[in-house]
C-alpha cells in the first residue's frame, strides 16, 4: 500500500482548510516562530550568504557526478561492515525493509523521522505484515496516533493544538490514570517520553532517515533535536537507514558547510542539538550500537529528474524554510497539498514523483511572491520550476477548459498590440464606470470564482500603458526644460564672467 494521494483535490482540500478553525489557529503560529528566528540567526553569521552559494555549488557538483559518488559511498559502507541495498522503486524499498525485519524476527520497529518512509508508505506496509512501527519523533508520534500524514516536513504536527493532542493521549494511553493533568505541552511531552522510552528499549529494529550520506567515509548523518533518532538507531539489533540517492555529498568538509545553513534555515538554530554521523555496525570493542547496519538507497523517479529542468530540485536539503515563508502554505497548511511534500518544494517535487496529471494543481497554488527562493539555503529557483510545471501542464492539455480558453483569448489580443490597447482602454473605462466611487466591486460577470471570496479592485480609469506613455512624455518634457534652464544659466554665467573680465 502506498500513501493515499489527494493532490488532485487540492482546491477542495484548500477550501476545507480555510474553514477549519483549529487549523487556522495552529497555522497562525508558523510565521511568528520560524521566520523571525531564521532572520536573526542568518544576520548573525556574516558568511551566511556565501555559505548558501557554496551549499548550492556542492550539491550541483555532486549531482553532476552522482553515479561516481554513490559508487564511492557504497564501497566505504561495505568496508565498514554495512550493507547497501539499491531500490529503484518504492515497492523495492518496502520489500527490502520488510525482508530485513522478517529475517530478524522483528516484532516492533522504532522509527526516527524519515520523509522517505512517508513517501514509500512504510508504516502501512509493516503493519500489514504484522510488524508494529513506532514513530518516535514527538510530532510524528502524535500524528501516528491520529493516523495522519505529516503536515510539515520538519514539524509534522504543526497543524495541531495541545487540546487535540491531549485528547489523543487520553484515547490511546489508557493504562495511565484518567485524572492525570495534561494541560500543558510539558506534561504531554513528559508522558510521550515515558511511553516511548519503553518502546526504544524493546524494539528489534530501528529505522531512520538520513539528512546526508558522505561518500568519503560511507557515513550517514541524521540531524535531530530530541535525540529520538539516536535512541532509535543505537539500541536495536539492526539499524536501517532510508535515504534517497540525492542525499550523498562528497566529504566531511562539504557536509559541514551544508550543516551551517541547514538548521539556521530550518528552525533558526545555530546548529541542531544532535548531529550524528554513523558508519557501519557495532565494532568489536563497542559495548553498544546496532549489530547490523543497512542503507536503502531509493531512486523512485529521481534519476530521471537529473536530465531535465528539474535537476535543481534535487539540491533540496529538506529544511522547510520555503513552506515557513509561503503565504499559500500559511493559509491552507500542509495536508491540502495532498501527498507527502507540501509547500513550494512539494509543489515542484510532487509532480515529478507522482505525475503532473495528479499534482498539477500544486504548482498553480502559488502567488509567485518569490519568498521561497529568497530563503532557500541551496537557492533552488522554486517559482521558475513551478512555472515550468504550469507550462508542461498546458502543453499536455491538462489545464481545465476555462483556463485554456481564457489564455487563448488573452493571447489573441496580446499578439495584436493595437487591438489590445484599444480593448483594454475600453474595458478600464467600463469597469471604472461600473464600480462607481467605491473603488471595488462585489460581483463581476464571468469572474465569480474571484468575487465570491473577495472584492475585485476597480482599475484606475486608464491602462498602465497609457499612464506609462504619459509619464514618459512628462519626464521627457521635464528633462528638456531642465536642460534649457541649465543652458540659460550657463549662458548667463558666461556673459557675466565675460563682463567681469572686461
Amino acid at each position: 500500500m502506498s500513501v493515499p494521494i489527494t493532490s488532485p483535490q487540492f482546491k477542495g482540500n484548500a477550501r476545507a482548510a480555510l474553514k477549519d478553525v483549529q487549523l487556522q489557529r495552529a497555522l497562525g503560529k508558523v510565521e511568528s516562530g520560524f521566520i523571525g528566528k531564521r532572520a536573526q540567526v542568518a544576520a548573525r553569521l556574516p558568511e551566511f550568504e556565501q555559505l548558501r552559494d557554496l551549499a548550492r555549488d556542492i550539491k550541483d557538483h555532486t549531482l553532476a557526478h552522482l553515479d561516481l559518488y554513490l559508487e564511492a559511498y557504497e564501497a566505504r559502507v561495505k568496508e565498514s561492515g554495512g550493507q547497501v541495498h539499491w531500490a529503484a522503486t518504492a515497492d523495492d524499498a518496502r520489500r527490502i525493509v520488510l525482508d530485513i525485519c522478517r529475517r530478524l524476527d522483528a516484532k516492533t520497529v522504532t522509527k526516527g523521522k524519515s520523509m522517505i518512509a512517508e513517501e514509500i508508505g512504510l508504516n502501512a506496509h509493516l503493519s500489514e505484515a504484522g510488524i508494529v512501527p513506532i514513530e518516535t519523533d514527538l510530532g510524528e508520534y502524535i500524528i501516528q496516533l491520529r493516523d495522519e500524514a505529516p503536515s510539515h516536513i520538519i514539524a509534522p504536527a504543526i497543524h495541531l493544538n495541545k487540546e487535540q493532542i491531549e485528547a489523543d493521549f487520553r484515547r490511546v494511553h489508557t493504562d495511565l490514570p484518567p485524572e492525570r493533568n495534561l494541560d500543558e505541552p510539558a506534561s504531554l511531552m513528559a508522558e510521550a517520553r515515558a511511553v516511548l522510552r519503553e518502546k526504544f528499549l524493546a524494539a528489534d529494529v530501528g529505522i531512520t532517515g538520513a539528512n546526508f550520506l558522505i561518500a568519503e567515509t560511507g557515513t550517514s548523518v541524521i540531524v535531530t533535536n530530541e535525540g529520538n533518532g539516536d535512541l532509535t538507531q543505537t539500541l536495536p539489533k539492526a539499524h536501517i537507514v532510508l535515504a534517497s540517492i540525492e542525499k550523498v555529498v562528497p566529504t566531511l568538509e562539504d557536509v559541514s558547510t551544508i550543516l551551517r545553513v541547514l538548521a539556521r534555515s530550518a528552525t533558526g538554530q545555530e546548529i541542531s542539538v544532535y548531529t550524528t554521523f554513523s558508519t557501519g555496525p557495532r565494532r568489536a570493542d563497542d559495548p553498544d550500537g546496532p549489530g547490523e547496519y543497512h542503507v536503502v538507497l531509493l531512486d523512485n523517479g529521481r534519476s530521471s529528474m537529473l536530465s531535465g529542468k528539474f535537476r535543481e530540485m534535487l539540491r533540496c536539503i529538506r529544511c522547510g524554510a520555503c513552506m515557513n515563508h509561503c503565504p499559500v502554505y500559511g493559509a491552507v497548511g500542509g495536508h491540502a497539498y495532498g501527498w507527502v511534500y507540501p509547500g513550494p518544494m512539494g509543489a515542484v517535487l510532487t509532480p515529478s514523483l507522482i505525475g503532473v496529471d495528479k499534482a498539477g494543481h500544486l504548482p498553480n497554488a502559488s502567488t509567485f511572491c518569490g519568498r521561497c527562493e529568497e530563503v532557500c539555503p541551496v537557492r533552488i529557483p522554486l517559482p521558475k520550476l513551478m512555472r515550468h510545471w504550469r507550462e508542461r501542464e498546458f502543453e499536455r492539455h491538462l489545464s481545465p477548459a476555462t483556463v485554456r480558453t481564457g489564455l487563448g483569448v488573452w493571447a489573441f489580443f496580446a499578439r495584436r498590440p493595437r487591438l489590445y490597447r484599444w480593448a483594454t482602454q475600453r474595458a478600464m473605462r467600463f469597469l471604472a464606470f461600473f464600480g462607481g466611487n467605491r473603488g471595488r466591486m462585489h460581483w463581476l460577470p464571468f469572474a465569480g470564482g474571484w468575487t465570491r471570496h473577495r472584492d475585485f479592485p476597480i482599475p484606475e480609469r486608464e491602462t498602465f500603458q497609457v499612464q506609462w506613455a504619459r509619464q514618459k512624455k512628462a519626464e521627457a518634457k521635464a528633462v528638456a526644460e531642465a536642460e534649457a534652464d541649465a543652458r540659460r544659466a550657463a549662458e548667463t554665467a558666461t556673459k557675466e564672467n565675460a563682463e567681469a573680465a572686461q
Binding site: K29, V30, G33, E47, Q50, L51, A64, H65, L66, D67, L68, L70, A72, S80, W86, A87, A88, D92, T136, D137, L138, A155, A157, I158, K162, I165, P185, A186, M189, R193, R197, A215, E216, T219, N225, E226, G227, D230, L231, T234, I245, P250, E253, S256, Q269, E270, I271, V273, Y274, T275, F277, S278, T279, P281, R283, D286, P287, G289, S303, S304
Partner: protein, 223 residues
C-alpha cells in the same frame, strides 16, 4: 539488479557512461583532498576567547558549563552538579583513560560505575573528543571508552572537556579525527549542542524530549 537500474538511469540522464577518466579524476581528488569551504571567522579566536565563545554558544542552547583547573577538581564538580539537580550520588562512565585517571575516591559518597547505559542510570559522565567554539558543540566518539548510550539514555549528561581540545570550527575536528584514526571513522560521531528538546507541540520549546534533560560541561585546565 536494482543497482544497475539506478546507476544506469542516472548515467542516461547525465549523458555519461561512468567510465570517463576526467570525471573520475575530479571526484577522486575531491574525496582524497577534501578541500575546505568557507569557514566562518567566528571561531578563529585566541585560545582564551575560544573557550569563552564555546561556553557562551552552549549556554544559548541550554547547556551549562563550568571551568576547573585540573582533573583533581572533577569529582567535586560532578558531585555539586548532582546535588544541584537533586540526583542520587551515582554516575556511569566508560573506560576512557582520562576519566579513569580522575581521583573519584576524593568524593567519598559518589558512586562511579563503568560501562554502557541500560536505561537505569540517571546521570553519566563522558569525555569529549573535541569542543567547537563556533556553535558550542561537543564532539564525542563511540567505543568502549565512551559508549554512545551514555550520551542519550541518562537524564543528565555530564561531559569532561579539556580546554585545549576546544577548537574554532568543525573542519578542525575532522582534521584532528583523521590524524587520530586515519581514514576509518568511529562507528558513531555525535555532535551535541545542548540538552534534548522539542517544539513539536504548538511550537513551545521544551527541554528533555527523549535524551538528557540536562547537559553540563566541565572544562578542564588551561586553554
Amino acid at each position: 539488479m536494482s543497482r544497475d537500474l539506478v546507476l544506469g538511469s542516472i548515467r542516461r540522464s547525465l549523458g555519461v557512461s561512468g567510465g570517463e577518466a576526467p570525471r573520475r579524476t575530479v571526484t577522486g581528488e575531491r574525496l582524497a583532498r577534501h578541500p575546505r569551504g568557507v569557514v566562518p571567522e567566528r571561531g578563529a579566536q585566541p585560545p582564551r576567547k575560544r573557550v569563552n565563545l564555546f561556553r557562551a554558544m552552549l549556554a544559548e542552547a541550554s547547556g551549562s558549563t563550568e571551568e576547573v583547573t585540573s582533573l583533581d577538581d572533577v569529582p567535586a564538580a560532578v558531585a555539586a552538579y548532582l546535588r544541584s539537580k537533586n540526583l542520587p550520588m551515582s554516575v556511569r562512565r566508560g573506560g576512557d583513560p582520562l576519566l579513569a585517571s580522575v581521583p573519584w575516591e576524593r568524593e567519598g559518597t559518589l558512586e562511579v560505575t563503568v560501562g554502557r547505559s541500560d536505561g537505569d542510570q540517571l546521570a553519566s559522565v563522558s569525555h569529549a573528543f573535541r569542543g567547537v567554539a563556533e556553535t558550542g558543540t561537543l564532539v564525542l566518539t563511540s567505543g568502549s571508552d565512551n559508549p554512545t548510550t551514555l550520551n542519550f539514555l541518562p537524564e543528565h549528561h555530564i561531559v569532561v572537556l579539556e580546554a585545549r581540545d576546544i577548537v574554532g570550527d568543525y573542519e578542525s575536528v575532522w582534521d584532528a579525527l583523521r590524524k587520530k584514526v586515519g581514514v576509518k571513522m568511529p562507528r558513531t560521531v555525535n555532535w551535541i549542542t545542548g540538552a534534548s528538546r522539542s517544539a513539536d507541540i504548538e511550537q513551545v520549546l521544551l527541554n528533555g524530549a527523549h535524551g538528557p534533560k540536562g547537559l553540563h560541561v566541565i572544562v578542564v585546565g588551561k586553554p
